[in-house]
Symmetry: C2
Subunit: 270 residues, 2 copies
């Protein structure tokens, strides 16, 4: 029996162009991650990391990823190139570009490295929240198609609270829909799954991410242990003004360990 | 009377190589910003932004900067190249590289853009703290030379509290020493002036920034209004474990307006 690929794997499928070591790939947007216009930024960010992970020179575990949304990505085919800019004994740096019709649409830098056992500590404890299954799923009608590729359970700061709020905090459980084991690219996409914080302060206005950063806090093994469980996320805007605001997010596993922290700068209108 | 350049301007001096539009520059490290080994990361980050600001194609105001410390920068000369990767109607994206002896040492991406009057709000209020002049300056003996190029007044979480603390918060006033009007490059450097948060949790251990991001929250005009006053900064580590931790910082002006938010991922040992 042949099983169809998961929508996430389908969206991340990159065809190698030329020799593997050249780091050149062909990809295309997919309907499962369609946004208002073009693809969901989180899936584009995941593709940027995937391009490095698929390169034969890749070494270490993902530590950080910064993705710059330099221009709109149109629905359809795109090219990606991934180049290692420097490889050290314990870290490796990458430069990734996504182009459409020869024009740069997205740029990214990624850092990989070797992790060793060290002291651990956290100053971002997971909030105490009800378990995901006790919370309402998203309504049938969602504003953008990519939300159908996630199972999101709002704890607070959900869509229904779009009246102007005093703060921009959203706490939510999320996993892929259908469920899929967590890996680094899907963790990246989940970090961008929080709607723009300005919506909670000003209602729905035009908004788009300009630059997006993820810091990874666990290795592949701990990530695999999450499997297709929910992860808990919390996001909040820091400062809003003169066309831009920033928002930060933390993702925890069900045990309360930090999986990733994430930050982004977002354009907004009004 | 000829006045010697400020140490910060001296450190940022880049000589244009070739035609101006090529974006190629020659620079060198300076003793005023020397770190334990090589230069203070904040000055390197400032140089990366400066390379784009000095390019004739530069348009808009700095919105975001991400600097990846791909390898050590040695004391001595370096080359910088700044390339606009995409220019839109209201944003412009840059790629910047610093090389030494033909090897990439530092990479960066910068985003510039047009700001318009919009709704403003903040969810990172400035803490109430005593005015800078009422607080003790740094002691005569500082662990690294670049600290002599800053006037830092710790409110809490200072060097003297290097016994293991329960959290990694530092609140401090800072300005250039000697005083110098604030601009975008000096704001970048100040965002990196907080010592590694792991020191507050574990005492002095080997640590080094891997990647560093600054989001700018004000335009040139508001920055100029700060002049050579102190800015208030607060930094805290988010999550520590398996060789890496991240820390976030906010810088406010004396009126409590957010000037910049900043995030970094840091390697540590032990």
């Amino acid at each position: 029996m042949t099983q169809a690929a998961h929508v996430f794997d389908d969206a991340l499928a990159l065809t190698v162009l030329g020799a593997a070591g050249e780091g050149r790939y062909a990809g295309r947007t997919t309907p499962a991650y369609a946004n208002m216009v073009g693809p969901f930024g989180g899936i584009t960010a995941a593709i940027m990391l995937q391009a490095a992970l698929q390169h034969p020179a890749w070494a270490g575990e993902p530590l950080a990823l910064t993705v710059n949304f330099a221009g709109p990505v149109a629905d359809g085919p795109f090219a990606v190139s991934a180049v290692p800019t420097r490889t050290n004994r314990s870290t490796q740096h990458w430069s990734v570009q996504l182009t459409q019709a020869g024009q740069v649409a997205t740029t990214a830098s990624a850092v990989f490295g070797t992790r060793r056992d060290t002291w651990t500590g956290s100053e971002t404890p997971a909030p105490g929240v009800p378990p995901a299954p006790t919370l309402a799923p998203l309504p049938e009608q969602v504003p953008v198609d990519w939300l159908r590729s996630y199972d999101i359970r709002f704890v607070d700061g959900g869509f229904s609270e779009r009246e102007v709020a005093d703060d921009s905090v959203t706490t939510m459980w999320l996993r892929d829909e259908p469920p899929r084991p967590l890996d680094f690219p899907s963790l990246v996409a989940r970090c961008d799954a929080f709607f723009p914080r300005i919506f909670l302060r000003r209602g729905p206005v035009a908004a788009g991410t300009v630059t997006f950063t993820v810091y990874f806090h666990v290795g592949a093994e701990q990530l695999a242990a999450v499997g297709s469980s929910y992860v808990l996320g919390r996001a909040q805007g820091l400062n809003f003004g003169r066309s831009f605001f920033d928002q930060s997010a933390v993702l925890w596993d069900e045990a309360g360990d930090v999986l990733a922290t994430s930050h982004q700068l977002v354009y907004f209108k009004g």
